[in-house]
């Protein structure tokens, strides 16, 4: 077995060897042993681990490689370059909820806050109850450890927390809530708070600068700007994929591509993988493809302070509280591009401008909810590869989020806020004292009073040992096909409770090692 390299051993240009749009002339036809679709946290891990074990691996990615000098801090430009539908993707149902998926080499790991959290063991008991999985935290721990070691996952150091994060810590401590520095896959973080638009410091170890270069060093071939449209199959065996070369940013299709493979691993993300399966007319007998979509809806509340706290200084998300995790609530500090956050400020005209001036006195804190009672589905839209996403937020989860909002408000007051902005329809736009904040608890909230963000998404090809309860078995293999695997968050059997990336990577590591043992 190859000894895992640490991140410190990576090459200077992390994207060296990545094939790009400009390299292609006409149609492409290649073959390999293992074909991995998607270079996000799921796919990149599988590609590296199998390549390092001597397998002939090809990794396909629809997005392009984005160098650190290409990252734009301006919110609109960044979202248009890095996110699907320019960041305007939403689900429909009883609420409209924005849900962001990246289109870039490295997938969501390029734009996320690098939070790495291991789910507690009871999460896997819940999975067992839902779909009969026998996975345990103890069984996954070696995989968590391998991923964490490779990425250098560590707690956010105090020097880069900054006042925004420290206020959250103080707020939690003031009300007797547990609070801890967030563990992240970063090295040399300078606390620029720019994780969402791409790390200009190269500190964030997103998969494009960690697992993908390691896969290339081990011999994997990586093709960007390739959109997989169909998985090809003969009976119970897949034979490869068909797709198109797509122009960067515009996504205009160019040449046709065919990749033949002995094994195909889909890791295109929980929105895209079911669409590929549906378009390919595979697993048609399985009722769970694209079904049971789960989100962690998240709500942000702004704390406003009397004095400037320079909120742009400090790690994007530096502290969290896991105290209410078992009830389905997780509390975090939040940050995103200023123009995105500013949208949350109240008023129009001069009053809106006045609130914009208070921007350096604001800190956003958020609560994410496990939302175990709510679900949705993803289906292929005719004529395109983009998903039609439906989601219903159940009132029981709305009630839980309301409880979360009340706790958030207590954290804000505990942190020394002089006012809070709840951002909920039907509540005052600004609440100026703790007593008045009681309205958050008393007011009966309904789903459409809120506009939660849903950036943690999973379960659309869920895992179960029983083919009537899931799409893949516990090795990640599709029940209906002998050599098709899935390794993205779609395979979660239920919520991960905590942020999903690390679990996705640990599962992908386990799938890769299992595959290697079988090949």
């Amino acid at each position: 077995m190859t000894t895992p390299l640490t991140m410190l051993e990576t090459t200077a240009d992390p994207h060296l060897g990545v094939r790009a749009f400009a390299d292609y002339r006409g149609d492409i036809h290649e073959r390999c042993e293992v074909l991995v679709v998607g270079s996000g946290p799921g796919g990149a891990v599988v590609a590296k681990e199998l390549a390092e074990r001597g397998h002939d691996v090809i990794l396909l990615e629809e997005g392009t490689a984005m160098g650190r000098r290409e990252f734009k801090q301006e919110g609109g430009a960044a979202m248009q370059r890095l996110l699907r539908d320019g960041g305007s993707r939403v689900s429909r149902g009883n609420i409209v909820t924005p849900t962001m998926q990246a289109i870039v080499l490295g997938g969501g790991s390029v734009i996320n806050s690098a939070i790495c959290a291991r789910p507690p063991s009871w999460i896997f008991d819940k999975w067992n109850l839902r779909t009969g999985t026998s996975l345990t935290r103890r069984e996954l721990d070696p995989h968590f450890e391998r991923v964490e070691t490779f990425l250098g996952v560590a707690p956010t150091p105090a020097e880069v927390q900054g006042e925004r994060n420290e206020r959250f810590r103080r707020g939690c401590e003031a009300i007797g809530m547990s609070v801890e520095p967030i563990w992240r896959n970063v090295q040399g973080c300078k606390g620029s708070g720019e994780c969402f638009t791409g790390c200009r410091n190269g500190a964030k170890k997103s998969t494009d600068v960690s697992y993908v270069p390691a896969a290339i060093r081990a011999g994997a071939r990586v093709f960007t700007s390739i959109r997989v449209e169909r998985v090809l199959a003969l009976g119970r065996r897949v034979t490869g994929i068909r797709g198109r070369v797509v122009e960067p940013v515009t996504n205009i299709p160019h040449g046709r591509v065919t990749f033949d493979a002995d094994i195909v691993v889909l890791a295109a993300g929980c929105m895209a993988t079911p669409v590929i399966l549906q378009k390919s007319e595979l697993c048609t007998e399985n009722r769970w493809v694209g079904k049971d979509l789960r989100f962690h809806p998240g709500l942000a509340m702004m704390a406003m302070y009397e004095e400037p706290i320079d909120p742009w200084k400090g790690a994007t998300q530096g502290y969290h509280s896991l105290q209410y995790l078992e009830e389905g609530l997780k509390f975090e500090v939040l940050w995103s591009p200023p123009s995105v956050l500013a949208t949350r400020l109240p008023g129009v005209g001069h009053s809106y401008q006045k609130h914009l001036l208070s921007y350096d006195r604001l800190a956003p804190f958020d609560v994410i909810c496990a939302a175990d009672n709510s679900s949705g589905e993803v289906s292929a839209r005719p004529g395109t590869m983009s998903p039609d996403i439906r989601y219903h937020l159940d009132q029981a989860d709305v009630d839980l989020m309301q409880k979360g909002l009340k706790i958030l408000s207590d954290i804000c007051w505990g942190s020394g806020a002089e006012a809070i902005l709840p951002g909920i329809h039907g509540l005052p736009e600004i609440i100026q004292c703790k007593e008045d904040a009681e309205v958050i608890r008393k007011h009966r909230l309904e789903a459409n009073a809120m506009l939660p963000a849903s950036n943690h998404a999973f379960c659309t090809t869920r895992m179960s040992p029983n083919e009537r309860l899931g799409v893949v078995d516990e090795s990640g293999r599709c029940h209906d096909l002998d050599n098709l695997y899935i390794a993205d968050t779609g395979i979660f059997a239920a919520s991960s409770g905590v942020n999903p990336m690390l679990l996705c990577m640990a599962l992908a590591d386990r799938i890769a090692l299992g595959l290697h043992a079988r090949l």
Binding site: I95, V160, E306, T343
Partner: protein
């Protein structure tokens, strides 16, 4: 949806088209050359920009002075066709919304500034979910465009540095201290 609903929707659509056709004229000349947005769309965006960010306010620069119209045009040029269509529909819808929801039967861009504010307030706080979502979408676009202007960013002391801690307090020495002292 029942056939009656479809019929009603169709009729509403026809009425909307008739209104749009009648109101085609009356927009000023285009502000941008080489633009994707036609002169009507440019006028609509300018009206929204100056309603959200009027001149002479706590941030002296108005929406149009900050280049919101040009930003949005570039944004649309870079958008995928479906997003472009949706944004254009959003703008047209909100331009015509006062015909249904007031404050008086007119295009948004023809309302007085006070009426425009009333119209936006009513959309943003409406009990109709769709109206609130359309307001938030518009505000997001406008805010993104306004804050992309460097002078506006400086006015609100919005700093983005790849290495903020190495700057210490120097960042603030370089910035004007025009932060509002008023509390909300």
């Amino acid at each position: 949806m029942s056939p009656v609903c479809w019929l009603l929707l169709g009729l509403l659509g026809l009425v909307a088209i008739a209104i749009v056709v009648r109101l085609r004229s009356g927009y000023g000349p285009p502000q941008l050359t080489d633009a994707l947005m036609n002169h009507r769309e440019q006028a609509i965006v300018a009206a929204f920009a100056n309603a959200f960010f009027p001149p002479g306010g706590p941030i002296p620069m108005s929406g149009t002075e900050a280049g919101v119209t040009g930003y949005l045009d570039d944004y649309l040029k870079r958008s995928a066709p479906l997003q472009r269509l949706l944004i254009r529909l959003l703008l047209r819808y909100l331009e015509l919304e006062p015909f249904v929801f007031g404050p008086r039967a007119s295009r948004f861009s023809k309302l007085s500034h006070a009426e425009q504010l009333a119209s936006l307030e009513s959309t943003g706080t409406s009990s109709i979910y769709f109206r609130r979502v359309s307001f938030i979408s518009l505000r997001a676009l406008m805010t993104m465009a306004y804050l992309a202007n460097e002078e506006v960013a400086r006015a609100i002391r919005m700093t983005q540095s790849a290495d903020p801690f190495s700057l210490g307090d120097r960042v603030f020495e370089q910035l004007p201290t025009n932060r509002s002292k008023e509390h909300p």
